[in-house]
């Protein structure tokens, strides 16, 4: 279904529902990333706080690892969703 097409067949907006979802996901990922970069840039001390007694694991390292995992998890979930949607169509 083309949810961008209006009653007269003319496009209402620039995106379909799938494209809007993709944009939302992309904007979320990019947003989380740039928040991390801004925190790194503006408040380095906050990310320097250590999480273990030996002082070898910092908030910054955990945040970096979480961001890497976030890319995988979000994209993996999205692929499963797309695959199910495509399978439903065929």
């Amino acid at each position: 279904m083309n949810d961008r097409t209006g009653a007269a067949g003319a496009p209402r907006s620039g995106m379909t529902g799938t494209q809007r979802l993709r944009f939302t996901l992309a904007a979320t990922l990019a947003g989380v990333y740039f928040v991390l970069v801004l925190v790194m840039a503006l408040f380095p001390a906050g990310l320097a706080a250590t999480l273990d007694d030996a002082g070898t694991v910092s908030v910054g390292m955990i945040a970096s690892l979480v961001m890497i995992l976030l890319v995988f998890v979000v994209m993996g979930a999205f692929v499963r969703w797309i695959d199910r949607r495509m399978a439903g169509r065929s």
Partner: protein
């Protein structure tokens, strides 16, 4: 380290022999323009994912991220996460529509619904600028690296790389370029996996012990786990913007999306690439970069009389290979680095030659009237010319700051290519005038701010203070490009603008049919 390493020479020799055999095979199977530019769209998603990962895993990435982590610690994560974020954006927003709308080049998509000639000419020129700067920076780095690793003279090393890349591209086109990239990616994956394993082995596979010893051995102490050691806040954000959005607009990476059979395979190839690059980058950053700090602290042969790393911080990974796994593995890693450089410059040469022949010659100068054989002849000639020009420029720029050339590439791509690409696909209001004005502002602003910044204005031209105080321009040039594109498009009420908007509706139907 300047003597010839026999393992490196033998591994590289085998790599060159195999890739030349593939090139010979590819040449026999390359009949049409579709074969030449897009490997006949017969590459699978997984193979293409490896090739895209190979494009990302340039020598600069592997050696550069390791070196930066060694020097500054956590700040280097900007490079890792920017690449992953850029890949995610490319997967979600660009891969499928790009594959559906285009045939061979970035300009095919940018010009799909806008006026062909001006938009194609502009994006071909920005693609060429990106390719040429990237090519020269890679070759300057390659020459210096090979000279250091093998003892070959700089000019000779650059000439060998230039000659091989020209042979791959002119004879084998995208088929040969893709397989060279895949083989090299596998070599790099093996090399990085062994290097990470051997590094962890030195700490009995205890990652916290590795970090404790890194903290104790580094001059920054515990601050290697905190940001702020490498760049000021504005430069950090600006660099991240250039890396994220610049990656999305790189012509040689985008071209790879045409080598798979359909849009879905293009999408899957991006996912494979993200997975491979994510895992590799995590190993390089969290294990190899930090592990090098304690392991190279007192290792013999690593530092010169002044206490600096022999060959500079880019050689940290190479030194680490020798320290943790001996001369045999050093040879393997060195050969992988040669192969990496060769594969990346071949992809760049193909992208540049395609912009010259398919976009500028066939579609702008010959108004789309050139036949395939004529176009392919021009492509091969263009690849040869690019090979010669890049060898000469690499010799000329031997002493220049190549890191800056590379940063220019990403900043131009983010400010000139990316706005046009994303708005052409998704924004109905974009007009030809808006695209040209915004892209032009992005290109000119980037170059101007780089010329006026601390590296060129102060370090190269010798002035006392920079006019533009920050190292990276994307934070200013990219928003300027988007703003001007929006403003000019919104104010454009010409009949041509109406036609541009009408063409968007047809493009939309094409994308969703």
């Amino acid at each position: 380290m300047s003597g010839l390493n026999l393992v490196a020479a033998a591994t590289f020799g085998v790599f060159v022999a195999i890739t030349l055999a593939i090139t010979w095979w590819a040449a026999r199977h390359t009949q049409s323009a579709h074969d030449f530019y897009a490997a006949g769209s017969r590459i699978t998603g997984a193979q293409n994912g490896l090739a895209i990962a190979g494009d990302f895993l340039s020598a600069a990435t592997f050696l550069g991220i390791t070196g930066l982590t060694y020097l500054f610690g956590l700040d280097a994560v900007v490079y890792v996460l920017s690449a992953l974020t850029g890949l995610a954006l490319m997967t979600l927003l660009i891969a499928e529509p790009f594959r559906r709308l285009g045939r061979f080049t970035l300009s095919d998509v940018a010009a799909y619904r806008l006026r062909q000639k001006p938009v194609r000419a502009f994006t071909a020129v920005t693609s060429l600028v990106v390719v040429l700067f990237y090519l020269v920076s890679q070759m300057v780095g390659a020459g210096a690296l090979i000279q250091l690793l093998s003892g070959l003279p700089y000019a000779g090393a650059v000439a060998i790389i230039g000659a091989l890349m020209t042979i791959y591209v002119t004879a084998g086109g995208m088929v040969a370029t893709t397989w060279v990239q895949i083989i090299k990616a596998v070599l790099m994956l093996i090399g990085i996996a062994v290097l990470a394993f051997s590094t962890l082995q030195q700490f009995d596979f205890d990652l916290l012990r590795l970090y404790r010893e890194a903290s104790a051995a580094h001059a920054l102490g515990g601050r290697i786990f905190a940001p702020g050691a490498m760049l000021d806040p504005v430069s950090t954000v600006s660099l991240a913007l250039a890396l994220v959005f610049g990656f999305v607009g790189l012509p040689h990476v985008l071209m790879r999306l045409y080598t798979v059979p359909d849009a879905r395979a293009a999408y899957h190839s991006m996912l494979y690439a993200t997975l491979i690059i994510g895992v590799i980058s995590a190993f390089v950053f969290f294990v190899i970069g930090y592990g090098a700090i304690p392991l190279l602290a007192d290792a013999p042969g690593v530092r010169d009389a002044g206490g600096k790393i022999v060959g500079g911080s880019n050689m940290v990974a190479v030194h680490l290979a020798r320290v943790v796994a001996g001369d045999f593995f050093l040879g393997f890693i060195s050969a992988s680095v040669f192969a990496t450089i060769l594969a990346v410059v071949a992809g760049l040469t193909l992208a540049g030659a395609s912009a010259l022949s398919h976009d500028l010659y066939a579609n702008v100068l010959r108004h789309g009237q050139a036949n395939e054989q004529e176009e392919l002849r021009v492509t091969r000639g263009a690849a040869l010319a690019l090979g010669v020009i890049s060898i000469l420029l690499a010799v000329l720029f031997e002493k220049q700051n190549i890191a800056y050339m590379a940063s220019l590439v990403f900043a131009i791509s983010a400010s000139a290519n990316f706005p046009i690409l994303i708005l052409a696909i998704y924004w109905r209001g974009l007009t030809t005038r808006g695209a040209l004005a915004g892209g032009g502002v992005g290109l000119v602003t980037t170059i101007a701010l780089i010329l006026l910044g601390p590296t060129v204005w102060v370090e190269i031209l010798g002035n006392a203070k920079p006019i533009f105080p920050w190292m990276y321009p994307a934070l200013f040039s990219m928003p300027a490009a988007f703003l001007v594109t929006w403003l000019v498009s919104a104010l454009d009420r010409s009949p041509a603008a109406e036609e541009d908007r009408r063409q968007f509706d047809l493009q939309f139907q094409q994308l969703n049919s």
